[in-house]
């Protein structure tokens, strides 16, 4: 038998993680702040992340952008977003023609099954993106501290 008190406690616990997600519009707002509303079609960017993540606490994530990386045509910045993490911004990197290649790899935390987005800003002012839907078994970011 479930008492009213136990039910309320369970309901509060179930509702708590939702409060720790960014609001649905937070990622779009963060992207709009960078692009100023300019379109960011899919293409030229490759977001490399496993589709099935067993442990969201450390996920190898890489982004590669097709670019000659010359003085007149290069990638200025690459941003990665997770709409259902407590904060949608994951990492931003700034590079230039001296990078040789528009590519980086890091390790990130993924809080929930969601669609991760990579956004690249090119020297000509255009934006390109890629997205990958991931399934997370063990969520990160908000777990209890032992």
């Amino acid at each position: 038998m479930i008492t009213r008190r136990a039910f309320l406690a369970a309901a509060a616990a179930a509702a708590a993680p939702a409060a720790l997600q960014a609001t649905p519009g937070a990622m779009s707002e963060a992207i709009r702040a960078l692009t100023g509303g300019a379109p960011a079609p899919r293409g030229r960017v490759k977001l490399d992340v496993p589709e099935l993540i067993e442990n969201g606490n450390s996920v190898v994530l890489g982004v590669t952008v097709e670019s000659p990386m010359t003085e007149i045509d290069h990638v200025r910045a690459i941003h990665v977003f997770a709409p259902l993490n407590p904060l949608p911004n994951m990492i931003s990197v700034y590079l230039g023609p001296r990078a040789g290649r528009a590519r980086f790899t890091t390790r990130v935390r993924v809080a929930d099954s969601q669609t991760l987005v990579a956004l690249a800003q090119l020297s000509d002012g255009s934006f390109w993106s890629d997205q990958v839907s991931v399934v997370v078994t063990l969520a990160a970011c908000t777990e209890e501290v032992k």
């Binding site: 911004n89 931003s92 990197v93 980086f104 501290v145």
Partner: protein, 106 residues
């Protein structure tokens, strides 16, 4: 000073694209976690990593709480001249770390 490890090739040909790896020991506490008693654990993360090649910035990364503990970053740069490649990390609570490596370009 926090423990940091960087990997830079010791020698490279001029114009070659070389891979740089940098990792630093840090908890990257998200600021969203709670203890058993419900107290919020304050955020403590590295905010930025900057890589300079003979004093010129060639790569910069802004970290958010979504970057995993002991942040690793792998990227590339053009081997332009012999000298020193330096990595600097700065973060919350006055965190600062630096590590550098020598490269010979021929």
């Amino acid at each position: 000073m926090a423990r940091a490890i960087v990997k830079v090739p010791a020698r490279a040909r001029r114009g070659e694209i070389i891979e740089l790896r940098a990792i630093v020991a840090h908890v990257m506490e998200t600021g969203f976690r709670r203890t058993e008693t419900g107290a919020l654990v304050p955020r403590d993360i590295i905010r930025q990593m900057v890589c300079r090649y003979n004093g010129v910035e060639v790569f910069r990364a802004d970290f958010h709480p979504a970057v995993a503990a002991n942040p690793l970053i792998v990227f590339t740069t053009l081997a332009t001249e012999s000298g020193r490649i330096e990595f600097r990390w700065t973060g919350d609570n006055g965190f600062a770390a630096a590590e550098s490596a020598q490269i010979t370009v021929e």
